[in-house]
């Protein structure tokens, strides 16, 4: 597949607006503002089958339709979630740093469809370069009349503000992000009400991922049918960026049609080109740290799309594929991820606040050779006590994925640790989350 979202990545001066316009940029915006109605725009996105690229895979056009017809005088906000903080994920960063105008064009079109006057980009604090690039790009867009009052003489106006986060994983959760944007502590809100009804400043808000918004100009330019034809089936459409990391020869971001085989991504010449040193695969995390681990047999015939990975009992999530080879200590990998989650829990719900550090402490003990046989079942019990409605947001459901999936699928390795008090592979994991 020819690259769509990343077609300009690597071009000289790909961040500048003149280069973007020269490559046909802002044509989609001219098209939409040249006579399309907002409803028509939403309908086109709906028809494309575009599903949210942030992790949950919710159909974007349907989400846009949730904004109440009568907003009771309140404004509608579009909020771009650029808080890319899922361990192993680095696709949005590429899009923002190398082709910021693609995102801005996508946001203007989406805002038009939502009848939104003010839009925000919430970018994670660590993305200093990305924030600078976006700020520059927004400035250029204002200067060229693609933002601000009366865009391209259409009478439509939009302001975009780039807002930097302060470094919290939970601010990637959409309601946590909204709280943080409002200047409060980054804690997820109780749902309902959902942001589409009551979000930023209690006004209807649509939160979309960077990659999702970047798809929008292409859908407008080439049509929903074109977009819907890309991908494995009609429910998993469009181009997709995959982030692959871990023990592979060529880690990085690769664009492919939705539904790329996981094995192709790991071994394909166009992609990661196999395992380092020709080692065997022990486990693969297919969708960022929050996704259940898959074992080597499970990655056979695993199309990387929302339904394909779900069928394997895991999730595509942010499409961050972390590959671990046979030399990886799975307990250490789980410990590493649990440390991350216990550090990042916001602390409002009891099971997550207390459970995540407990998991880490138990895993740490097992890895350090101080585990007991009953600890293996204890891990599973703690995990099961944290999930499925026990908390406000899905953070704790995410936090239990690494320990629970590993303790289920690699029980032997855990038992080895607690019985022999040594590590099965005799080394620490190379994965750092």
């Amino acid at each position: 597949m020819e690259p769509v979202l990343t077609r300009r990545v690597g071009k000289p001066n790909s961040r500048a607006i003149d280069g973007y316009v020269a490559d046909g940029g802002y044509a989609a915006l001219r098209k939409v503002l040249g006579g399309w109605t907002p409803e028509q725009t939403t309908e086109e996105v709906k028809k494309s089958g575009l599903r949210g690229r942030g992790g949950a895979g919710f159909p974007t056009g349907v989400k846009w339709g949730f904004v109440p017809k009568d907003t009771k005088g309140k404004p509608v906000y579009l909020l771009c979630n650029a808080d890319e903080s899922e361990p192993g994920t680095f696709k949005d960063r590429l899009l923002m740093e190398d082709d910021p105008h693609q995102l801005i064009e996508g946001m203007v079109i989406s805002s038009y469809a939502l009848k939104c006057r003010t839009a925000y980009i919430y970018i994670r604090g660590e993305f200093y370069l990305g924030a600078r690039v976006l700020e520059k790009a927004v400035e250029e867009a204002y200067a060229e009349g693609f933002l601000g009052e009366n865009i391209l003489g259409s009478g439509y106006s939009l302001d975009i503000t780039v807002h930097r986060g302060a470094g919290a994983y939970i601010c990637g959760e959409e309601t946590g992000l909204i709280e943080s944007l409002e200047g409060k502590r980054g804690q997820p809100r109780i749902k309902p009400p959902f942001p589409a009804v009551s979000g930023v400043f209690n006004a209807p808000t649509i939160v979309n991922n960077v990659e999702t918004l970047c798809c929008v100009p292409h859908i407008i330019n080439r049509g929903a049918e074109w977009f819907a034809k890309i991908g494995r089936n009609e429910k998993n459409t469009g181009p997709k960026l995959y982030c692959i990391s871990g023990h592979v020869n060529r880690p990085g971001v690769y664009e492919a049609a939705m539904g790329l085989q996981l094995k192709d991504l790991i071994f394909g010449d166009a992609y990661a080109r196999g395992m380092t040193g020709g080692k065997k695969i022990k486990a693969v995390i297919p969708g960022g740290a929050s996704a259940n681990m898959l074992t080597a047999p499970e990655i056979e015939d695993c199309p990387l799309d929302f339904d394909g990975v779900a069928a394997k009992g895991s999730m595509l999530g942010s499409a961050a594929i972390i590959v671990m080879n046979e030399d990886t200590c799975i307990v250490d990998a789980a410990r590493n991820l649990s440390k991350f989650f216990s550090h990042e829990s916001c602390g409002q719900c009891t099971p997550c606040r207390e459970g995540t550090p407990w998991l880490y402490k138990v895993l740490d003990r097992i890895e350090e050779g101080e585990g007991r046989v009953e600890d293996v079942d204890l891990l599973a019990r703690i995990c099961n006590q944290m999930a499925n409605g026990m908390t406000i947001c899905v953070f704790s459901d995410a936090a239990i994925a690494p320990p629970l999936s590993s303790v289920t699928k690699f029980r032997d390795e855990y038992m080895h640790h607690v019985q022999k008090k040594t590590c099965l592979v005799g080394r620490k994991a190379l994965v750092t989350a």
Partner: protein
């Protein structure tokens, strides 16, 4: 007399369906039993109406719902995942299950998580006995835990004063945020906040500023565990030894409903009593920490001054002495030589008795005064109730008729020298700051005879001819009339130790010595007389008299319909 609007006439029977008006209740099914509940309730409150207790920590009826303790888990029919009851909106036909295995497991899991880092040292925790964590652990937790790691500590944030009254111990905190929400939503001062995150989350003040709002004690009240306690009460008494007595705060004329908590004739603390019409769940620090002052006593016996010598006396003898002086004054100068001063600190019954004595003697010279204080306020649901008098019952005392009668004079005239009474009877030596002002007492002292009743000594007791030992608020019963014109009853926590007697008792003895009254009268009888004689007191409702519901620290009673 009631501050509440009169009860509307009973609604006419609803017309037959389907043209009926929209109903103002929802039908909610709890464990198979349908019940009609008002629409504005939270699911936890609705369950309570159905007689079902849903355990919880972070929910409080007057604070915003945050749904974060995850204790109030229930199953909702049609929803696959377990749900927090407090965040589930009520609707018609909602079917709630509170006893399923899933619910039991979920609650036990939350209890286990809460206890893994909570110190299990209840015997040395001041909250023990009124701790929601203890109660819920007993009711819904498992006795055993597999937690075998080092418990979390908060060095530097344990057993530390947060402000003038509240001591914080973060090792005991369960992060329910009730105190944070109290300061933000009720007090409006927002001192407290969450610091850090995850398992290291703690509650503290912004930038180390003190928790010093006027209601800081309430932050400790709403704390369901021993994380916030008050310096004044901490480690003074195990709470299960305390007796609770319905009372009214003596701090100002707002008349917050309180519970006087006592053990063996010692007052240990005040807690608010829930009264949605007055103080709701709250009590200000000024009033709350008056509690210990009820234990002060300087005047243990009656005293009679002869010349420069002061001698202890038998109370009846001292009363007889006052009666003699009164009779002598009436004989020599007529009733205009007498002056009666009531007190805004005394009950309606006591002020009423004093006025009746004056009436009996046909003396028009009676008065009551009050000191102004800075405005004190308390949040009564959404509105503030404000008071600016330094005594609880100025309004009631006035309504009992303590104002100069026809041709009579008041305290101002006495102090300015315009009037020169021969015999002055001051029902309460602590009637105001004037009682401890040597200059003003000297002006009062120009009278030939001054008698008073007192608990603590001041300039007036040192100058008076007869001083009677009088009871504290905890040692007597009566009613106060607050700033909203609500007549509220306070009850006796314990009997005064003889020869100390309640003011009303002393006044009644004096009345009898003067030839009026009945020794068998009690404050309840006096209240009946007030109801019959004083305008506006005839229709005081029993609920208004009773006031609020007793509360436990950290818990809330069922508020009913606000």
């Amino acid at each position: 007399m009631s501050a509440n609007p009169p009860k509307p006439p009973a609604a006419p029977a609803p017309p037959p369906a389907p043209a009926g008006p929209p109903k103002d209740t929802f039908t909610v099914v709890f464990d198979g039993q349908p019940i009609e509940v008002p629409k504005h309730l939270n699911l936890i409150e609705a369950a309570k109406l159905a007689g079902i207790d849903i355990p919880h920590f972070c929910f409080h009826p007057r604070l915003s719902v945050v749904g974060q303790c995850r204790m109030c888990l229930v199953e909702i029919e049609g929803v696959p995942k377990i749900q927090a009851a407090c965040t589930t909106p009520l609707k018609d036909g909602l079917s709630v299950k509170t006893t399923t295995d899933k619910v039991k497991t979920g609650r036990a899991a939350t209890m286990e998580f809460l206890l893994i880092n909570h110190p299990l040292d209840c015997p040395i925790c001041d909250q023990a006995g009124e701790c929601t964590l203890q109660d819920n652990s007993f009711g819904y937790g498992n006795q055993l835990s597999q937690f075998d790691e080092t418990k979390r500590q908060y060095p530097g944030f344990d057993r530390t004063l947060l402000g003038p009254h509240v001591i914080a111990d973060m090792t005991r905190c369960i992060q329910c945020t009730r105190c944070i929400r109290f300061c933000h939503e009720i007090a409006g001062t927002s001192e407290l906040t969450f610091l850090d995150r995850g398992g290291r989350t703690l509650v503290w003040t912004h930038d180390g500023k003190p928790l010093a709002n006027d209601w800081s004690g309430c932050a400790a009240d709403v704390c369901p565990v021993g994380a916030l306690t008050t310096r004044e009460f901490r480690f003074r008494k195990r709470v299960w030894y305390l007796n609770k007595t319905r009372s009214v705060c003596p701090g100002c004329n707002v008349g917050c409903n309180t519970s006087i908590e006592t053990k063996e004739e010692i007052v240990y603390r005040f807690l608010p009593r829930l009264n949605p019409a007055v103080n709701d769940y709250w009590l200000c620090d000024h009033g709350r920490f008056l509690a210990e002052s009820l234990n002060l006593r300087d005047v243990h016996k009656a005293t009679i001054r002869t010349g420069t010598s002061v001698q202890d006396a038998h109370v009846p003898a001292a009363i007889e002495r006052i009666a003699q002086e009164i009779r002598r004054t009436v004989e020599q100068t007529g009733p205009s030589g007498l002056f009666f001063l009531g007190s805004a600190h005394l009950s309606n019954e006591e002020n009423f008795l004093l006025r009746k004595i004056a009436d009996h003697l046909a003396c028009p010279n009676r008065d009551v005064v009050v000191d102004k204080s800075r405005t004190r306020k308390i949040k009564s649901q959404k509105e503030w109730v404000e008071g600016d008098e330094a005594a609880p019952n100025f309004r009631g005392a006035k309504e009992m008729g303590l104002a100069p009668g026809r041709g009579g004079y008041g305290l101002d005239a006495v102090l300015s020298g315009k009037a020169a009474p021969e015999c002055v009877l001051i029902a309460d030596a602590g009637f105001g700051t004037a009682g401890d002002d040597a200059d003003k007492v000297a002006l009062l002292r120009r009278a030939r005879f001054v008698a008073t009743a007192a608990r603590t000594a001041n300039a007036l007791t040192r100058a008076a001819d007869v001083v009677l030992p009088a009871a504290s608020l905890a040692e007597k019963e009566g009613t106060f009339t607050n700033v909203q014109d609500r007549v509220q009853k306070f009850e006796r926590a314990f009997l005064p130790r003889p020869p100390v007697r309640a003011h009303w008792d002393l006044l009644l003895m004096l009345a009898i010595a003067l030839g009026w009254g009945d020794r068998n009268w009690t404050p309840a009888d006096l209240l009946k007389q007030i109801a019959a004689e004083v305008e506006g007191y005839g229709d005081v409702r029993e609920e208004e008299l009773e006031g609020g519901t007793l509360l436990k620290k950290g818990d809330f009673a069922w508020a009913g319909q606000p």
